[in-house]
Amino acid sequence: MPLLVQAIVNGLQMGFLYALVAVGLTIIWGLMEMINFAHGEFLMLGMFGAWWLSVTFGLDPLLSILPIGLLMYGLGVLIYRLLMRRVQRGDPFTQIFATVGLLFLLQNSAVAVFTSDYQYLSNTLLTRLSGSNLRILGINLGVPLLIGALLALVLFLALYLLIDRTEFGLALQATAEDREAAMLVGIRPQRMFAVAWGLGAALVAVAGCILANFFAVYPQVGFPFTVLAYAIVALGGFGSILGTLLAALVVGVVQSVTSVYLPPAFKDAFVFGSYILIGLLRPQGLFGRF
């Protein structure tokens, strides 16, 4: 029993981080019905940015969240204006190929600039805390991962409030609901789309700043997270922010619990198995709408 509870707690902590990784995909899909295959590369850029600022200026990755978030917001907007706005009008395959092309462009550019070496952060706030644990009712909570998970949760909730409780968020939702009706009340959809790309890039890059404390940083690091992010977004329902959070927690727990009782090879099989199951019972995902 303690093994199971510990596995659930571990899974929940990872789940909060997965949620922050995946939510950018949800926003872009919810607003534009477009899948960004280069999403993991934004995560990779965030991780490299945090690593570079740390080794060059000694800036802690948690403090680099703001500059990297802003920079990546700008990059997201730029990518929308230069590329995605044009392909948005085209065939869905054109959109897919454009983001796949972007994936390779960003990944290979990272290889050219940073080389393929694995980079590691040390001497940051969270790495210095590594090894310190909280023990509550026999459950072990690693302090750095707990801080990372709580930070991800706070950022996630801030995003939720921004989208759900502000005029700007309502404008985004209105654009997602009915583009023409939104235009009638003075909302400019193109601006909203650009904001969605900016937010998507910034959020996943911020997740990268947190994850850089726990993982090796290298040009292909985004891939395993992206694969999970697709499953999370599909499971939670494309476009649903709260659905993403819930699905991320489910994915984290499923991964963790299955590995305790079954061969670890089943870990992702069960994650995608649960996605298929939800897909059969509720194709729009847990919180999605058709």
């Binding site: 997965y18 080389t115 070496d117 980079q119 040390s122 072990n140 891939f223 299955t258 670890p264 090879a265």
Partner: protein, 440 residues
């Protein structure tokens, strides 16, 4: 009928032209020897590919330039003397760490670039995909750092390997653990658990370890295979903690090893011995990173050479200087040493063959009998068995010390020279944190 004959004749002519096109030019006309370098320069194994590329550039530099005092094959003199001074030219192609891509590019290198010797792909899995291509065209091929035993057990006529394979290297680890008891080591190490990734390299290691562990007196208490690219290994660590093995046999790449270390530290778990085999243990960037955290201290693993003793060799120092020209100052790791040794053997073989004709190269390869003094690595020499596997390639066991460097601990005669006291048991995470870090 006449038309059919004409078509058949034309087809025969085209076929002859095609066959002639693949036949390398006679020695007298060869101005450059083309070595196809099939490398994972991007994708998951790009970090390895980069070291192989630098190794290739080093070998090319050694062959094409005159290093009069360098006691390695084709060190003194310029180019291939057996081919009238022809130069070595690397034709480098990126496989993106993908098997399908490696296969396509290998075919292009053979049919379009008309390379004389194919080297690569650097990872066992992708190399096994390329092997049938080289075999079907009858082009000599080698992969020196590839460690999967199966590569030289399939009966391929055109594939050679100068480096040791996993059976040799994993056997070194278990020989050490078995013999350690009689050399003042602990006598209470009874159980072992495996934590390996899911690709050909890791699984070959696992299979060999599964066979050798009981023979070395160990009971396997847990056997976990994880997916390459795991984002968390916390549950696996929980299971390991519950199984409580004396020895953990860990075969993972650097990113997953980092994830494992983080999760093990969170769980406060450390077995008495962590033994590994290649993967992160061979990655120079991972090793360097451990110096900032003491994370690698006490980990022992197999290596093809006694890296702490090899520095005393004059040829190693000179080759390392050349290597550093290409690696932006990074020292040769053991993977690069394996690759350079293999490439220089290839050059020596072509030189002795005095031809780039595949049959002549194969004959010269079969006649190889290189002594240890010609090598920058601790093999007992290079001589091939009937499977074209270097039967003199050996393994040593090293351990990461508190200085962050690897020290030879087996075989015992080399360990005596290295004069390093084996760290046992593996230090706890608290001890690692409290002691000074070599790179801080």
């Amino acid at each position: 009928m006449r038309r059919v004959l004409a078509v058949l004749a034309a087809a025969a002519c085209l076929l002859s032209i095609a066959v002639l096109a693949y036949r390398p030019a006679p020695a007298a006309n060869v101005s450059e020897v083309l070595i196809g370098e099939l490398l994972p320069l991007t994708g998951n194994f790009a970090s390895l590919g980069q070291q192989y590329l630098w190794a290739g550039q080093t070998a090319e530099d050694i062959v094409n330039n005159d290093y009069p005092d360098l006691a390695v094959p084709l060190g003194p003199g310029k180019g291939f003397p057996g081919l009238g001074g022809a130069k070595m030219t690397l034709v480098v192609r990126d496989t993106q760490s993908r098997g399908d891509q490696a296969r396509t590019i290998a075919e292009q290198l053979i049919t379009v670039n008309k390379i004389h010797f194919l080297n690569g792909e650097g990872t066992s899995g992708n190399t096994s995909i390329v092997q049938p291509i080289a075999e079907s065209y009858g082009i000599p091929m080698a992969c020196h750092p590839c460690a999967s035993p199966t590569l030289t057990e399939k009966g391929f006529k055109w594939f050679w390997r100068t480096g040791p394979h996993d059976k040799v290297m994993v056997a070194s680890v278990f020989s050490f653990l078995k013999e350690w008891r009689e050399h003042g080591g602990p006598t209470d190490l009874k159980t072992v658990a495996f934590l390996t990734c899911d690709n050909l390299f890791c699984q070959d290691n696992r299979k060999v370890a599964t066979e050798l562990a009981p023979q070395s007196g160990f009971q396997v208490v847990l056997d976990l295979t994880t997916k390459t690219g795991a984002t968390t290994l916390a549950s696996e660590v929980q299971r390991l903690q519950a199984a409580n093995p004396d020895v953990l046999f860990l075969v993972q790449y650097p990113p997953e090893t980092t994830v494992f270390q983080g999760d093990a530290k969170r769980a406060g778990w450390m077995p008495k011995v962590v033994a590994t085999s290649n993967g992160a243990y061979s990655d120079q960037t991972w090793l360097e990173a451990q110096k900032k955290t003491n994370g690698g201290v006490g980990i022992l693993g197999r290596d093809p050479t006694a890296i702490d003793l090899v520095h005393d060799r004059p040829s190693w120092k000179k080759v390392n200087e050349i290597y550093k020209k290409y690696s932006h100052g990074q020292n040769m790791g053991e993977l690069a040493m394996r690759e350079i040794t293999g490439l220089l053997w290839m050059a020596d073989t072509i030189n002795r063959a005095k031809s780039v004709d595949p049959a002549a190269i194969a004959k010269a390869a079969a006649e190889t009998n290189m002594s240890p003094s010609q090598l920058i690595i601790d093999y007992k020499g290079i001589r091939f068995d009937k499977n074209n596997q270097n039967e003199l390639a050996t393994g040593v066991v090293t351990q990461i010390g508190w200085d962050g460097e690897k020290h030879t601990i087996w075989p015992w005669e080399l360990a005596k020279r290295a004069n390093f006291k084996v760290i046992f048991p593996s230090p706890s995470w608290q001890e690692r944190d409290s002691k000074p870090k070599p790179a801080s």
